[in-house]
Symmetry: C2
Subunit: 141 residues, 2 copies
DNA sequence: TTCCTTATTGCAACTTTTGGCAATAATATG
DNA sequence: CATATTATTGCCAAAAGTTGCAATAAGGAA
């Protein structure tokens, strides 16, 4: 299934329009798979849609996140990165060497439920980054 | 105990210097208690140290966070805010109305331990923001 | 297909944040 | 207290991100 076929209906269902800019950006996110900065998204999507501006990239990434097609992440650089929304997961990142690993959301499920029952809130988002020391960097202290 | 008496030794112990700029910024964070943006910190600290620049505020907040005297937080605006480091806690924030509440770190302790044992990482930071719907906003759906 | 409505984009100005480098000032030492 | 060392700051310029508004184009209706 093409990106257009996959994502257009999701936007239409919410009353939004598919545009060449949005499609190009979704395409970049979809085929990269990883976390991309707005600048990286722009650099690639720009090739498909020459007139594309960085302003539109910022607005579109925010829009896609707002509508559940992309997920924003704070990976410690102080700047937001984005990825296509697929399986629910979180990240562990080493403060020393930067090594990352993914953690399935399932592992935190019960904690989320405890948080919900204690607070009365219904938690929606789930794409956190936990910082610490990786096994290797613990040795060197 | 004054801010100077409280924080100077902590910096010295790590080989750093106490300056009028750092003291003013610590003072602002300490007596506010809440989350402040760099601009808010600048606005207040500036009154005590007229020559203070925004550049220094950014650098100092980052420095204080790096050294455990302040904690950065992503509260959903896309911009970092900071607070003085006191008890360990996290935040719940409503996507709809913005209402926030604090959650003691103790509530997540066992999940942190599970994460550590599963991953081998030693988790250091703990100041997360969970997003969702508050009890009130769930009614209106 | 053509027309109409309005969501979306590009542009330009503006705000926020970062980085290099020389001047300044905290603190250790004599 | 005077001097030396170097961490820290201010200044300036650049990079990253945001906003208002007029022009454009997606998609529904005729
Ligand atoms: Mn991710
Ligand atoms: Mn907090
Ligand atoms: Zn590591
Ligand atoms: Zn609410």
């Amino acid at each position: 299934m093409s990106c257009a076929e996959e994502y257009t209906p999701k936007l239409r269902a919410r009353g939004y329009r598919m545009t060449s800019q949005r499609l190009a950006i979704l395409h970049v996110l979809h085929h990269s798979g990883g976390h991309l900065s707005p600048a990286e998204v722009y650099e690639q999507a720009h090739l498909q849609v020459p007139g594309l501006t960085e302003t539109t990239v910022y607005r579109t990434l925010d829009f896609l996140a707002e509508n559940g097609l992309a997920r924003p992440a704070h990976m410690g650089s102080g700047r937001l990165v984005y990825e296509i929304a697929r399986h629910e997961h979180h990240h562990l990142k080493c403060r020393t060497c930067g090594t990352e690993m993914e953690v399935e959301h399932a592992l935190l499920k019960s904690m989320y439920q405890k948080l919900e029952s204690e607070s009365g809130y219904k938690l929606t988002d789930s794409h956190l980054t936990f910082f610490g020391l990786c096994p290797n960097c613990q040795k060197g202290d």
